[in-house]
Symmetry: C2
Subunit: 522 residues, 2 copies
């Protein structure tokens, strides 16, 4: 424990979601008290404290022996000026670690234990190693329904919570969510303006891509600002009935943001974590009604109907206990939705649908109308079964486009011409090796190719799909076009496309029945 | 993928077992190709490559826009001079991640999959998150015996392997190991010189403390150098028949070193990981025969006899398949061994035993003789049951001390006077609250108090135990003395000792039977 004050220094290193403290090897705190690299330390100043992982520094230009450096996010969190006196001591392990160890050992956690764990996670008191242990342990020993409920509750309690009761006066606050994994599936950017045009409040926050080629926030960002402080976001929702913003600035279910950073690289999507993550975000954002889309397909997150049904029941159970009305829709997840994969190409698809352009991808339009219809049916004045037609009228009449323009203007318009979208200049086509029928497509392979091509950071990179399941193709016919900004990215994507063909060619009798009959969406 | 070369720079930050690459936010690789903080990158130069986690830097004094910085260990690993041209690209996830995901999903891994995982771990290709996931997943879905065997094999194959066949000409190469968790248990520093004096080859490498108040390497380091390059270590073993060195420099089972850094903070010691860790180190060090000590007690790693028996069988199964002769000894782990806890106090205990000093702790002497006797019985010329007496003769005659002095001189003697050991100057005593019999002691609480007092970094800090289980004490009588170098450490240790008393006072009939009868050691 060092009570000798050190001088606070801001170290210009972005360590993303992990607080790092830098101490010189000759600092008395390091020499005398046995701090080792990667030890967890507590830095205190002016009554506040942050926990950080220690890096020991040998270069006095970075931090001197009487200084303590903090990485960008930790410095911001401690919120003291550079030069301020701080002390550093070994951090006691977070109190909830005992509960974490019980979960690792396979035990059931109580409501209080889950609240303690989630609280420590939200305060960034867990190391990456501890976070990963929590994620894997709760994945393996499936949590029971009550544990999932308590986890969700705890995640809501650890952050802010929006309240729209004044705005809606007893009416519903609605939202729509897809559990993800289907490339191109940008229905939110259609459902939100349609539903808002119907007069309902839909304050939608979305994520950025972490392991996918685009998140709704990445695509929306081409059209408008998405990083909005909470107060502006609230004003925009009051003005337009909606928003399409990035959720990361709002401090809604912050533990979820921390956990996702660990879950995504491990490709872990356990039912418990999916339910807690999605429902905590929605409830914290003030939603009272939610339409949830679960796509099912061999390369979707959910691979079969029994699994989809189990997941549906778990969502329904937890939502009911938390007074959230939920309508779960199980959809066809065997192939991407729309033509484009990657921010620019997806934004083009969305705008084509809103503009009622003849080239607009029919599947994206159809799915968005279906989901919007279900949301609209939360309106007590709408008769069951009429939502789809209402949504279609709103879209066909141009009222959805008008509402989208109001939302874009309110958030801050960015120049984007959907007729000449800034698609990345380099490209290659993937062609059919022989004649046949397209009987399979691998969503994961498509996503990876689009990422290697540069999406989402290179917004114009990605894939334009030129065919769909069930299409008959000729040898040499182009199946898709891959766009990249840099030669090297193009080459990477090309190698991946060769090594791991995303399309499977076969004969008509290999097609699953309902693809032959036409996709059963309505 | 950036093929634009960057200039390599050494960044004086010790990130311990985690390679970090630093790129400036304005570096073309960051701007153009969408690297995000914490992305995994591959840095190439001169045909070699290291994988590292990316930190994005905003301070050009640290790295400029055309530079690439590497943390100390990564820089050393890439082994190129500062200023050399390097390229950076997004690292493809290690090929074995698919197998890791299968284990997380609860599946059984094949020999090839385990070799792939361990190989990637040894090459530092796994992130902390992936390492933690592997550790928790293999902990939860208990690995079967063949998986443990293959894991052990893979850990041996991933590093160097010493070969003493020339030295021993068909004779045994022996070792002794304790699975740990018992404070003060420094028998290795006695067993090694006794066994070497008997004429057997015992090349012992030990660990430093990670979460305990002292490892054998920390204690031995007070008497001699312990960080020895492999070539010197081999020469010392050839000269003295033994060594007592730190294992971290020898590249023996390097994946184990990486995994331990994750297992310790999570307090995970699954049977599979214990067996693979210990046996891979011993076999890589060239041992053919091993005595393994499993202490059992309510606050030891192994809490009961059935668990100890299961663990013993697993060790025996895997050792047999790998042609290692193993003799597993289950010992009393209900309380610390010796008086001192912490490097200086433990070194004093060890030297008192070697010097046959009247104050030498009898339990440490007894246990060391018992273990040394078992090792000596690996000698084909020694009759079963006579090892203990041989060991005692070697110790009583001063030959063990003489051999220890040869080992110390060969490794490089450091000044240490066991008669006036440099115990930390500040201290307090923990006293009995009332009259009674000591019926329980908590090894974990003692270890934590010693750590808070500053051990092992403050070598003279720690605990001197003034009583043992079964002792009758009076109110106010001192049970132990805690030593610290700094007031703040002393205060921390004092608070812990008050909050979490390590000793339990009761009546004689609460004592477990064999403590009443005298400890059943032989």
């Amino acid at each position: 424990m060092s009570l000798t004050p050190l001088t606070l220094r801001r170290v210009g290193i972005d360590t993303f979601r992990e607080h790092v403290a830098y101490l010189h090897r000759d600092c008395t705190a390091v020499r005398a008290e046995g701090f080792q690299a990667l030890a967890k330390v507590e830095v205190r100043g002016n009554g506040d404290a942050v926990h950080a992982v220690l890096n020991v520094v040998d270069d006095a230009a970075l931090v001197g022996p009487t200084e303590l450096g903090l990485s960008e996010e930790a410095f911001t969190r401690l919120d003291l000026p550079a030069g301020h006196a701080v002390t550093v001591q070994q951090a006691e392990p977070p109190a909830s670690i005992a509960a974490l160890r019980r979960k690792i050992a396979g035990e059931r956690l109580s409501r209080e234990e889950l609240h303690a764990i989630v609280g420590d996670i939200a305060r960034m008191r867990y190391t990456k190693v501890e976070l990963a242990a929590f994620v894997v342990a709760t994945h393996q020993f499936e949590m029971d329904r009550d544990e999932v409920l308590h986890l969700t509750e705890a995640m809501i309690a650890a952050g802010r919570r929006l309240d729209w009761r004044q705005e809606v006066r007893g009416g519903p606050v609605v939202d729509k969510h897809c559990i993800g994994g289907i490339p191109g599936n940008r229905t939110s950017m259609l459902v939100v303006p349609i539903v808002a045009a119907h007069g309902m409040l839909i304050p939608k926050t979305s994520s950025r891509a972490i392991t996918s080629p685009a998140g709704t926030a990445d695509t929306m960002e081409l059209l408008a600002e998405v990083e909005l402080p909470l107060s502006r976001l609230a004003a925009i929702v009051r003005e337009t009935g909606a928003c399409l913003a990035w959720g990361g600035t709002a401090d809604l279910s912050p533990a979820d943001d921390v956990l996702i950073a660990v879950e995504r690289p491990l490709a872990i999507d356990s039912p418990a974590q999916m339910v807690a993550s999605i429902l905590s975000k929605k409830i914290a954002a003030g939603s009272t009604h939610l339409v949830l889309d679960i796509p099912v397909g061999p390369s979707a997150k959910v691979r079969g109907m029994p699994e989809a049904q189990r997941l549906k029941k778990l969502f329904e159970h937890v939502a009911a206990r938390l007074q959230l009305q939920i309508d779960v829709v199980i959809t066809d997840g065997r192939q991407p939705i729309g033509r484009g994969i990657g921010p620019v190409l997806e934004a083009r698809d969305v705008m084509q649908v809103l503009e009622n352009h003849p080239d607009a991808p029919a599947d994206l339009r159809q799915k968005a109308l279906r989901l919007a219809g279900r949301v609209i049916e939360f309106d007590p004045d709408v008769r069951g079964g009429t939502g789809f037609a209402i949504a279609r009228d709103i879209l066909d009449s141009g009222r959805a486009l008008a509402r989208m323009n109001r939302i874009i203007d309110a958030q801050g318009r960015r120049p984007f011409d959907w007729r000449t979208p800034p698609v990345a200049p380099l490209s290659f086509e993937v062609t059919a090796a022989h004649d046949g029928v397209l009987v399979g497509v691998d969503n994961l392979a498509l996503a990876r190719i689009a990422q290697l091509a540069g999406a989402p950071k290179a917004a114009g990179a990605g894939i334009d799909l030129l065919c769909r399941l069930g299409d008959t193709v000729r040898a040499g016919q182009a199946l898709m076009r891959v766009h990249a900004r840099f030669e090297a990215d193009l080459e990477f994507a090309r190698r991946k496309a060769l090594a791991d063909p995303a399309w499977r060619l076969g004969t008509r009798d290999e097609l699953p029945r309902d693809v032959v009959a036409g996709l059963s969406e309505a």
